[in-house]
Symmetry: C2
Subunit: 344 residues, 2 copies
């Protein structure tokens, strides 16, 4: 497999997500078609994968797996019984430098735990965080983390997320001095949880961070900050709330024009184009794929319910992370910003 | 003031919110105009209130206050220095049976603390919760709590919120056997925080509760449950996220038709009517006013940023709570559902 490493190689956990091979394999073929220098390693039972492939294909390797980590399995248990699972094998391919990134739509807790176990966190990072770059309405983007890797976070973790988020905003969004905010239930100093207030006072004192204070839920898509930090529980609920609402709005244009005259149908068509232009970029299918930031390697978590289009978007996230060399940039920037761990 | 008690009497904390008398006084006049049996007690300095009143008014009393609880004041400190404040005096009017409800747009923590201190929680309720009835898209409504009174909640509190929410759904929404769900980051049993999992197992075992399990953020407005329970931090962020997005969408129809021909302007007008019909009921201005559920009396918290329309909506929430006799119904239903506190 040596020569594959000369180009872009990504391992896909084919058995993950609600639809497994039925979604992952078509998305893989689409990605191969779209990126001529891309190689994909599909991890799963070839008996399930091969029937979904065309007669002739290239830049695609199948690596057998014998089990699947269920979505409802407790992460600690899943990790203990992970030998031979598609998720673990996909991560091992990254560990052994046979792939530069792994994409999985599987059990978030297990993916987090196995990634830490096999690929290790960057020095100075307690726990990696799921991060996504969300589109804001004024043509800006916002780096949001954690989106669900850590349901509970202490202040140190929030500060580390802020540092990593700022580095990502600099490297991926080309923002010189990114604004960093903490998501909270009020803008006043006294508001929120102890962990958030403690993180705020650390960030305020850090001259390397352009900390702008607290932002509330209604500011999530307004582009008022470049980096928005929260714990994984709140981040996950909020992201899904946004996604749910946008789906409702995008589908509403269809509902609005039902049972109407031809003229209204034409108007509806125009309206739909307009709505898609204004809000289509907020469609979760367009930005699926959250990076597990803080690992020494690249792991992308896709929505469990991803369809072909959105799993393709997750593969694209992996390609971007490889191109931007995210883990190394985070490690380099952090080594100057954070005190070294005494174990190292 | 005795004869006022024969009808509907509500005390308003005039000095609360971002705009104080400028919003509260016009909203009060609007409410008096709309409800002929309503009496309002405006708590604040008459020097600031009187200039905003018409020459002749009726069913309106001014009660002087000498201070205001600032929004950025720590609740414990605010409560210690609350003597003479508009918020405290408004709550004391309820305590002394001079008003049946209090409406304030002030410091949430202080309002919660002072309400507990002066008006007491219902037996069996550790901490009252902010509740609102949110409109769902399929013409159903969802009782959502806690929306920000308790940033951190243990499992017992979540269970109490579920019980209170179900009673509210029965009494206010006329739903016989309301479905109750916990907001979580996955639908599987293993997902989420310890407090949520513990609450789930208590609710599952309770035959009086129609517990349907976990719901994720994307289901918040879909009407899949009648009662949605979460801690106050998550509830507040989520509610504000929803409000922020809906504002963006409702204003988007105006943006879409700018710089267009007359025909497009006409289409835009039609579109705006349609959008308002479909989503206008989700406009935060229409459902402002969260009830502090679990108190022996009625306290309504308005958004700090409320305008006249939305403060009027908060007054209407107080009227509804009085008409439905919410505190007494909660107390009666809970006394059979919850074990009695040993102190009573």
């Amino acid at each position: 497999m040596g020569d594959i490493l000369d180009s872009l190689t990504i391992a896909l956990d084919v058995m993950s997500g609600d639809f497994g091979p039925r979604v992952v394999v078509p998305a893989a073929l689409q990605a191969l078609n779209h990126y001529p220098n891309l190689h994909l390693i599909l991890v799963g039972p070839s008996a399930e994968i091969t029937p979904l492939l065309p007669k002739h294909y290239q830049r695609l390797t199948i690596v057998e797996s014998s089990s699947v980590i269920a979505n409802d399995m407790k992460p600690s248990l899943a990790i203990r019984h992970s030998q031979g699972s598609s998720m673990r094998i996909a991560l091992e391919l990254v560990k052994n430098n046979q792939a530069q990134a792994c994409v999985s739509a599987g059990n978030t807790g297990a993916l987090m735990g196995l990634s830490k176990l096999l690929l290790h966190a960057i020095d100075g990072i307690e726990r990696p965080a799921l991060v996504a770059i969300l589109p804001a309405l004024n043509q800006r983007n916002t780096v949001v983390l954690d989106l669900g890797a850590n349901a509970e976070c202490n202040s140190d973790m929030l500060v580390q997320f802020a540092l990593m988020g700022a580095i990502l905003a600099r490297t991926s969004l080309n923002i010189d001095n990114p604004r960093v905010a903490l998501l909270n239930i009020g803008e006043e100093d006294i508001k929120g949880l102890d962990s958030i207030r403690a993180a705020a006072s650390i960030l305020k004192a850090d001259k390397n961070i352009n900390f702008i204070g607290y932002l509330e839920g209604n500011e999530i898509l307004t582009g008022k900050t470049d980096v928005l930090v929260c714990d994984g529980f709140v981040g996950n609920v909020t992201l899904k709330t946004v996604e749910g609402l946008i789906k409702i709005f995008l589908s509403s244009t269809q509902l609005m024009t039902k049972r109407h005259s031809l003229l209204m149908k034409l108007v509806g068509h125009w309206l739909q184009k307009k709505m898609t232009k204004h809000f289509g970029h907020l469609d979760p299918n367009h930005y699926n794929g959250a990076c597990l930031l803080g690992l020494q390697s690249i792991v992308i978590k896709s929505h469990g319910s991803a369809n072909q289009k959105s799993f393709f978007a997750a593969i694209e996230q992996a390609i971007l992370a490889i191109k931007h060399n995210i883990p190394e940039r985070i490690a380099t920037s952090l080594s100057s910003a954070l005190p070294k761990s005494e174990n190292n």
